[in-house]
């Protein structure tokens, strides 16, 4: 065995805190190390050439790298080894940057530690075994979870590339949040006008199957071969028979708060989410339907001309297989009731921006009129409060919700256009307008008369006058004074938050989430649509606040990843799988139940014992299924189970260098 050690300076990142020459010298003394060198940048072409040359000149067959985290460049070095005809798992990395130079302050101690980390890696490298992967077939069908604009875009792109897609949406219609918006910034396009055609396209596309009023129940499998259970909730209306006439909705006597209008209008218990809903056929909301509560009523069944109502329909579980999954679960907005200073919930004229959005919409609860909910009159003075629950760790979320500055500018412009007599005041920490045409749009809003006050609102309270106005107290830092405004309407730009229930989806898909609950991408810069789970991609606000163009771009990015996977048609299996030493396996099968991928089964080996042939049970691994977690190896009492790349010998060797 001939080990070569390479210590990277990482420019000054490692070199400033670790004496790299000394580490390289010390490495030379380690057993079986025949070559050692320090290099400025190992990941660069020059650095790679150095390793390559040393492999040839010194006939190296194990490579130990002292550099950044293996999570950064392990695959770079593995590829290099492969190109040199060595098994990629013959490289071992000592993480002397993230675990040493960057976290310590004493150069001598850091140098000693770096040397020990290298020693540990050298010891591990002795026990490296060659690993290979198999090629697995990819099921060329995608699942998109979430039918908002991001999900729709992702589904359309994949479908246009010629692959079948299932689009799952938990509401009775696709469209998501964008369907609730009136106009979009900075172009002031009518949201429905640009969205509805896409919704229809998704519904009629030959490669797309819609599952509305449905939820993902279970996900098993791995990249290329996911098995997913989808629960299709009973709609109680036979969708193939219903012609969408809507007579039932008219006659239904039960009225409930309409979530689509943020609770500011009523819908029936049998309903479509909004007039342009896709599919445009009603469902019965069983939680509110009189028939399901009391067994009486049944009006819709009587009225329906096509006899489409079916009170006995049951939830259905559909089981499908997919090669790739795109999560596009979207967002909710923070309930401002938690922030008592804004008086939301205590005065009808304090509303959220989304409520104003619905008011502005011609098919919204006020048919496009902006009113004070308390008296139905047009407000004259409107105060907008920015960052409600955003950018304040103590009162909500530390992050910026990103879209509020722009949609508030939009609201002031729309108000100015429709009701020129209104005055808009915008309290803000600062105005963020990153995005094409956004600064100009904000300028326009100011130009048209919106008054921006740099400062935060400390309190909103009722004025107690006959008009039931609100007193908004705040601070204007540009004049350095407390200001008070008597407002007719207060509009809160509430924080964007991950969709309620998205943590369940994260659990099902094996995704990690950041501390705010948004799904984590695989790399913040270079893998913004991938996740740590192979074959699962992210689109839209489920990954973090973003505006419509960003959500759409990310959706197209995510679908491109799925299409690449489908075009390739096969994936490499995980090489670091479990291995059974049949000689010592006792066949106890304790390992079987701990495997999350059902990769372990009982097989039989035939042996000759005392001249007789006997069959003995042993555990066997399905390498296509095994993901190499090692739960089985951690448990095996016989020591018969091992994990490639992390064998007991390898780990023990590391422990022994203490």
């Amino acid at each position: 065995m001939r080990v070569g050690v390479f210590i990277c300076w990482c420019g000054s990142n490692i070199k400033n805190m670790v004496d790299v020459e000394k580490v390289a010298k010390e490495a030379e003394k380690m057993p079986r190390v025949v070559y050692s060198q320090d290099v400025q940048y190992l990941c660069s072409e020059v650095g790679q050439a150095d390793i390559s040359k040393a492999i040839d000149e010194h006939k190296l067959d194990r490579i130990v790298i002292g550099a950044c985290s293996p999570r950064m460049h392990e695959s770079t070095f593995q590829q290099l080894l492969e190109s040199k005809g060595l098994n990629p798992y013959y490289v071992e990395i000592a993480n002397i940057r993230e675990q040493c130079s960057w976290v310590h302050t004493d150069k001598d101690k850091a140098t000693v530690k770096a040397t020990e980390l290298v020693k540990k890696a050298v010891a591990k490298s002795y026990h490296a075994i060659p690993l290979t992967s198999d090629l697995l077939k990819v099921n060329k069908k995608a699942l998109v979870i979430g039918g908002g604009i991001a999900g729709i875009q992702a589904a359309l792109d994949i479908a246009d590339a010629g692959y079948p897609v299932d689009l799952v949406e938990q509401k009775p219609s696709i469209g998501g949040r964008m369907a609730q918006f009136d106009k979009t910034f900075p172009t002031l396009d009518c949201s429905a006008c640009i969205l509805t055609p896409k919704m229809v396209e998704a519904a009629t596309h030959e490669n797309i199957t819609l599952y509305t009023y449905s939820e993902v129940e279970n996900v098993a499998g791995y990249v290329g071969n996911f098995k997913v259970k989808i629960k299709q909730k009973a709609k109680s209306v036979k969708q193939d028979i219903c012609n969408g006439c809507g007579d039932c909705m008219e006659k239904c006597p039960k009225k409930v708060a309409n979530e689509f209008d943020e609770g500011n209008s009523k819908r029936k218990a049998i309903y479509t989410l909004f007039p342009q809903a896709v599919p445009n056929k009603p469902v019965i909301d069983r939680d509110n339907c009189i028939y399901y509560k009391t067994g009486k009523c049944g009006l819709c069944e009587k009225i329906c001309p096509t006899k489409a109502i079916d009170y006995n329909q049951e939830d259905e579980i559909v089981e499908n297989e997919y090669g790739a999954i795109i999560a596009a679960t979207g967002f909710d907005i923070k309930d401002p009731q938690d922030l008592s200073e804004y008086y939301y919930g205590n005065h009808p004229d304090v509303i959220t921006s989304l409520e104003l959005e619905r008011q502005l919409n011609a098919s919204g609860p006020t048919s496009g009129k902006v009113i004070r909910p308390s008296n139905g009159k047009t407000p004259e003075k409107i105060v907008f409060v920015q960052c409600v629950g955003s950018r304040d760790r103590n009162k909500g979320n530390a992050y910026c919700s990103k879209v509020c500055c722009l949609y508030t500018a939009k609201h002031t412009l729309l108000l100015n256009e429709k009701f020129p007599e209104t005055e808009s005041y915008v309290f803000n920490i600062d105005v963020r307008t990153g995005g094409k045409g956004y600064e100009e749009f904000y300028e326009r809003a100011r130009h048209k008369g919106a008054k921006y006050l740099r400062g935060q609102v400390s309190k909103v309270e009722p004025l107690g006058d006959a008009d039931n106005k609100l007193l908004v107290r705040g601070y204007d830092s540009s004049i350095g004074e407390q200001v008070e405004i008597e407002a007719d309407l207060v509009v809160l730009a509430t924080s964007i938050e991950p969709k309620v229930g998205s943590s369940k989806i994260a659990g099902l898909l094996g995704l990690s989430s950041d501390s705010d609950g948004f799904f984590s991408e695989a790399h913040p810069k270079l893998k913004p649509v991938e996740t740590q789970a192979q074959g699962i991609y992210l689109a839209g606000v489920c990954q973090g606040p973003k505006d419509i163009p960003e959500a759409v771009s990310q959706a197209s990015g995510a679908s491109a990843k799925a299409i690449i996977l489908f075009n390739k048609g096969e994936v490499k299996s995980v090489p670091t799988t479990a291995m059974v030493n049949e000689e010592i396996c006792s066949g106890c099968m304790q390992c079987k139940p701990v495997c999350p991928y059902e990769a372990i089964s009982r097989e039989y080996v035939t042996e000759r014992v005392a001249g007789k042939e006997v069959k003995r049970p042993v555990a066997s691994i399905n390498r296509a299924l095994c993901q190499g977690c090692g739960a089985c190896a951690g448990l095996c009492r016989s020591g018969a189970m091992d994990i490639g790349g992390f064998t007991s010998k390898q780990i023990m060797a590391e422990v022994d260098t203490l």
């Binding site: 985290s69 999570r71 675990q99 976290v103 530690k113 739960a631 992390f646 007991s648 203490l658």
Partner: protein
């Protein structure tokens, strides 16, 4: 007897997806923590065999930490539930061996909890300093 300036040795088994990533993030964020921790990368905290932990104690560790994803966040769905169960058993065994159970800790540290990684190491280090060297289960033959 506790030596003066005793620097405990800590072995930390960190799962690749959460805790190892959290330690990496501590590096990226230039957080500082004591030098005496050695991280051993494992695919999942459930990969850690009891023998590995005992071997670490035998060979000179004064404290061992097993760190994985938070329950429910396991990259492999259920790995850390097995870890939790298995390691709780070991915990009771350490006391049975006459070892202070505080020398062996199991922590859930996610990929973005760099600060938690740092504080865990710091606190563990302080505890071990108070406890002194763990020679109870040390392999005495090789004179460590």
């Amino acid at each position: 007897m506790i030596e003066q300036n005793f620097e405990p040795k800590i072995v930390a088994f960190c799962c690749n997806w959460c805790s190892y990533a959290g330690a990496d993030l501590a590096g990226t964020g230039r957080l500082k923590y004591p030098e005496n921790v050695r991280i051993i990368r494992v695919p999942c905290s459930s990969r850690v065999e009891v023998q590995m932990i005992m071997r670490a104690f035998q060979n000179g560790a004064d404290g061992v930490m097993v760190a994985g994803c938070h329950p429910g966040d396991c990259h492999y769905d259920t790995g850390n539930y097995h870890t939790r169960r298995r390691m709780m058993l070991l915990q009771s065994l350490t006391s049975f061996l006459g070892m202070d159970p505080d020398r062996f800790i199991v922590k859930w540290i996610s990929g973005n909890e760099a600060a938690k990684f740092k504080s865990t190491v710091e606190e563990f280090n302080e505890t071990l300093k108070k406890l002194g060297p763990a020679d109870k289960v040390r392999d005495q033959r090789c004179g460590i």
